[in-house]
Amino acid sequence: MDRDQITQELQPIFAKIFRNPEIQITDDLNAEQVSGWDSLTHLSMIADVESHYGVKFKLKELIGMKNVGDMIDLILTKKGAA
């Protein structure tokens, strides 16, 4: 598992949650850049990501995520691939 693979796998999750099939996943993508990315959709997205990768984020990890790149870093760490 590497960064590019996760980026590709996140695309359909984000497309479904934020109802945007064309959404482009980049490391610096964050809530301010995506229409419909509010607290509720954010938590749905986190739940789907946790389920997809079989990981659980800690509260401090969730709070510390500033963009998609931070989330990919955490997934890589939790999957032992960092």
Partner: protein, 211 residues
């Protein structure tokens, strides 16, 4: 009476401030209404959240100020922070914390949460936020909240401040307008009141430039 930063000994009073201010002058406690949890459970969750010491959102001890009487008891309090200082909105931080501590309840409450979210007004980045303003009933009408607000506004670097309140909480709205705040935005959804999620169906964002 003296105004000071809150200390751990004030936590029970702070929980009272949160519960009573969330009722916003009415009888409905939104967290009970949305998540189906009792006040006792909510109190414990709030205390657990305070233990996390997560800044830039209202449920962090470091952001609380209280008015203490001569016996050392807190009689008024509020939470204040600068919105968006770490790049994440306080609403997002609060939602993440509630979701973390109320995982099961969150899943079964999604529809109600979506209704509540329909009157959410994004807080303004860089603005001083004043939240959970509450004066104990025995100490109202004595100017404590006015003094506390002025003290807190002067203690921040920013010159712009924001308060969000239900429009139905007339006494609170009157006080904030008297202190120079004016309505900037209004969001309404009658379903919020019909489903008994809040004591009113319209939320106001009031702002002030105190420079």
């Amino acid at each position: 009476m003296s105004i000071k930063k809150a200390e751990p000994k004030h936590l029970d009073f702070i929980v009272d401030c949160i519960i009573e201010s969330e009722k916003s002058g009415g009888t409905i406690f939104p967290y009970t209404a949305a998540f189906g949890i009792g006040i006792k459970d909510f109190t414990q969750i709030i205390k657990d959240i305070f233990e996390e010491e997560i800044p830039d959102q209202p449920w962090c001890l470091d952001h609380w100020y209280v008015v203490e009487n001569e016996l050392g008891n807190a009689v008024a309090g509020l939470s204040s922070w600068i919105e968006g200082m770490n790049g994440t909105s306080s609403d997002m931080l609060k939602a993440q914390m509630l979701n973390f501590f109320l995982k099961q309840e969150w899943e079964s409450s999604k529809e109600k949460l979506e209704v509540l979210a329909s009157i959410t007004i994004p807080r303004k980045n860089g603005y001083i936020q004043l939240e959970h303003l509450y004066t104990h009933a025995d100490f109202r009408g004595q100017g404590h909240m006015k003094s506390l607000i002025l003290h807190v506004l002067e203690s921040h670097d920013s010159e712009k401040a924001e308060i969000q309140v239900l429009e139905s909480n007339k006494n609170a709205v009157s006080l904030y307008e008297y202190m120079g705040f004016s309505v900037n935005e209004r969001q309404c959804n009658e379903a919020v009141e019909r489903l008994s999620l809040l004591s009113g169906c319209c939320k106001l964002q009031l702002i002030k430039n105190h420079g």
